[in-house]
């Protein structure tokens, strides 16, 4: 297995095409949960976990079920693709439920710490976004391993973005932000600068 290619995929999605700063995924939790570093980091971990599993499961469903069933029963491997979006979102919702139940049973403190954020991960566009991006890209569609690395890297990139933002916002609490910009305003402006910084990663594929 070409390890270099996998590293390329990982860095590509975690840094160059960062889900938050370059692809605009996961903005709602990014704005909502980035107030404190420990919460942000926890959210980042949960998202990475759910994203990786969902990415792998949706890939397996498309290639292991939809394509062969379509080919065998209907003569056209792409016939059942119209059900993809419905299936993807159902899978993600179920994964989140499972993660919730698992945490509740085995890591109860973490579960209470997350509170309402866990179910909110379902509507986190980053998770569905990762599954869709894998599905839309010829390279990842062909390789489960690369898709898994992509999903994992995407989650890490998100975790990185949200944690950095939380660090900055904790400092901002002691500054004088104009009233109109408090909350979303200043967060977005900070994100602008961070996005500019992350642009610097472009070309790392070389």
């Amino acid at each position: 297995m070409d390890f270099g290619a996998l590293v390329g995929v990982f860095l590509g999605v975690a840094l160059v095409n960062n889900f938050v700063f370059a692809q605009f995924l996961g903005i709602c939790p990014f704005l909502g949960v980035s107030r404190k570093v420990d919460m942000a980091f926890g959210m980042g971990c949960a998202v990475t976990f759910v994203m990786t599993i969902s990415g792998v499961v949706t890939w397996l469903i498309v290639h292991g079920i939809l394509t062969p069933v379509g080919a065998r029963l209907l003569g056209n491997p792409e016939a059942l693709y119209v059900l993809k979006y419905v299936i993807f979102i159902m899978v993600i919702a179920s994964m989140v439920q499972l993660v919730e139940m698992y945490l509740k049973k085995f890591f109860h403190t973490l579960y209470t710490a997350f509170g309402v954020f866990l179910p909110l991960i379902t509507t986190n566009c980053a998770i569905l976004g990762a599954c869709l991006l894998i599905d839309m890209n010829e390279i990842y569609r062909a390789s489960l391993l690369k898709s898994a690395v992509f999903a994992f890297g995407g989650g890490i990139g998100f975790a990185l973005a949200i944690t950095i933002m939380a660090g900055i916002r904790e400092h901002l609490r002691h500054s004088n932000v104009p009233k109109a910009l408090q909350g979303a305003g200043i967060t977005l402006l900070t994100a602008c600068i961070l996005a500019l910084a992350f642009q610097g990663f472009a070309g790392i594929g070389k």
């Binding site: 095409n17 119209v82 419905v86 070309g203 594929g205």
Partner: protein, 190 residues
């Protein structure tokens, strides 16, 4: 069992109704969508191999993408078109390369998919009289195309990079060279 049905009958009914709806939408739109997907490629082939009215895929051993044999309305060979993909500055670049019937000369290239930096890298896809890609017309396919910077008059098989977008220019040049190298010797003799 009754409780299950009691709670979820609506979900099952809706599921069935929606499945039918989706199947209907799929059948109505699929032909149009397929035509759309082909259109960009067909238009590009028409541009890089002048005079082409028809094209058919010819399988080339060891090359995973499509290579087209291009003919005019009377069936005469107008040239060859190669669908090539390479890694650019930002992400993949997809382009079509046109070769003359004897596969000795490049008749043109067209970038059909790219996400390079707007205003800089994406000039590789620019159109019109002074499009950057026009430089490739007439170059020799028998040797490598070479990218140079700030040379007053590029000569034999050299092309000028876009100022401020060397990496994108390099990506296109490299993709063109690699594709031609892999395909040219394996083209069927007309």
């Amino acid at each position: 069992m009754k409780k299950f049905i009691d709670e979820s009958w609506l979900v099952l009914v809706l599921g069935a109704v929606f499945a039918v709806l989706l199947a209907g939408a799929q059948t109505s739109f699929s032909t149009r969508i397929r035509t759309n997907q082909q259109r960009a490629l067909n238009e590009a082939i028409g541009e890089v191999v002048p005079g082409t009215q028809r094209s058919e895929v010819v399988p080339i051993e060891g090359y995973p993408r499509d290579v087209f044999k291009c003919q005019d309305a009377d069936g005469r060979l107008t040239g060859w078109a190669i669908d090539a993909v390479g890694l650019g500055f930002a992400d993949k670049i997809r382009l079509v390369i046109g070769l003359s019937p004897d596969a000795e000369t490049i008749t043109g290239i067209k970038v059909i998919d790219n996400v390079e930096t707007p205003g800089l890298g994406n000039k590789i896809a620019g159109e019109g009289e002074d499009a950057w890609a026009n430089q490739f017309r007439g170059l020799k396919a028998t040797g490598r195309v070479v990218r140079v910077k700030q040379k007053a008059r590029p000569e034999n098989n050299e092309i000028q990079a876009i100022t401020g977008a060397t990496i994108s220019s390099d990506a296109v040049t490299r993709t063109v060279n690699e594709a031609i190298e892999r395909v040219r010797s394996k083209l069927p003799t007309p």
